[in-house]
Symmetry: C2
Subunit: 121 residues, 2 copies
């Protein structure tokens, strides 16, 4: 289910193609902006980073929470924001809840940040 499209144009055989040739339209911006907004908090950025780089591709809330100076409910709130933005998903497994990244969403954001190669040159 989490098999996802690769937005890269590999026809030339090179990676890092200039993906952002055309400007986003209003609808795309309305879709993508909430995802970027979700990353606009240091705690959420670290949470996503921890989840994404975790062994096995997922992380337990019980391992995430103690790494921050804020209360448990605050971490829960931030995880919910990331989840509602479509950047992560989670499920309870017995006592603990585990979260995984959603690669397609992250790739969609990365694509927006691809600067046309000829920008400066």
């Amino acid at each position: 289910m989490s098999k996802q499209l690769v937005v890269l144009d590999t026809s030339t055989g090179a990676c890092c193609e200039p993906l952002a040739e055309a400007a986003l339209d209003a609808g795309q911006a309305e879709t993508l902006a909430p995802m970027f907004k979700a990353l606009g908090d240091p705690i959420r950025l670290r949470l996503l980073s921890m989840i994404t780089s975790a062994q096995g591709g997922e992380a337990c809330v019980c391992d995430l929470t103690p790494q921050f100076d804020v209360s448990g409910p605050t971490i829960s709130h931030h995880l919910r924001v990331l989840r509602e933005a479509g950047l992560i998903e989670g499920d309870r497994r017995g006592t603990w809840v585990w979260y995984r990244p959603m690669p397609a969403a992250m790739q969609a954001l990365a694509a927006v940040l691809a600067v046309p190669a000829a920008a400066g040159t």
Copy 2:
């Protein structure tokens, strides 16, 4: 004002490296989160996209403003947020002001979104 961080390790000279192997530390998150936050508004996202994909790698405020339904000062405010986040820079040329993207900053953000390729493997 405009500080010039480069959070990327480009020492290998190769592109598309798996940059997000390790989780961000608190300091990196504090640096990067304001940049993501700046992109967390549809108008700013479109502004950056327009500037980035503009002919010649820069765009005039006079061409950007009419494409939105908000007032001139509001566009000016959003451009300032993008500028203070280090994502764009601008200068006045006679009557008009032109903005350009800052590719290093955008690449730093894209690197955070690189999902470790071996996540599932």
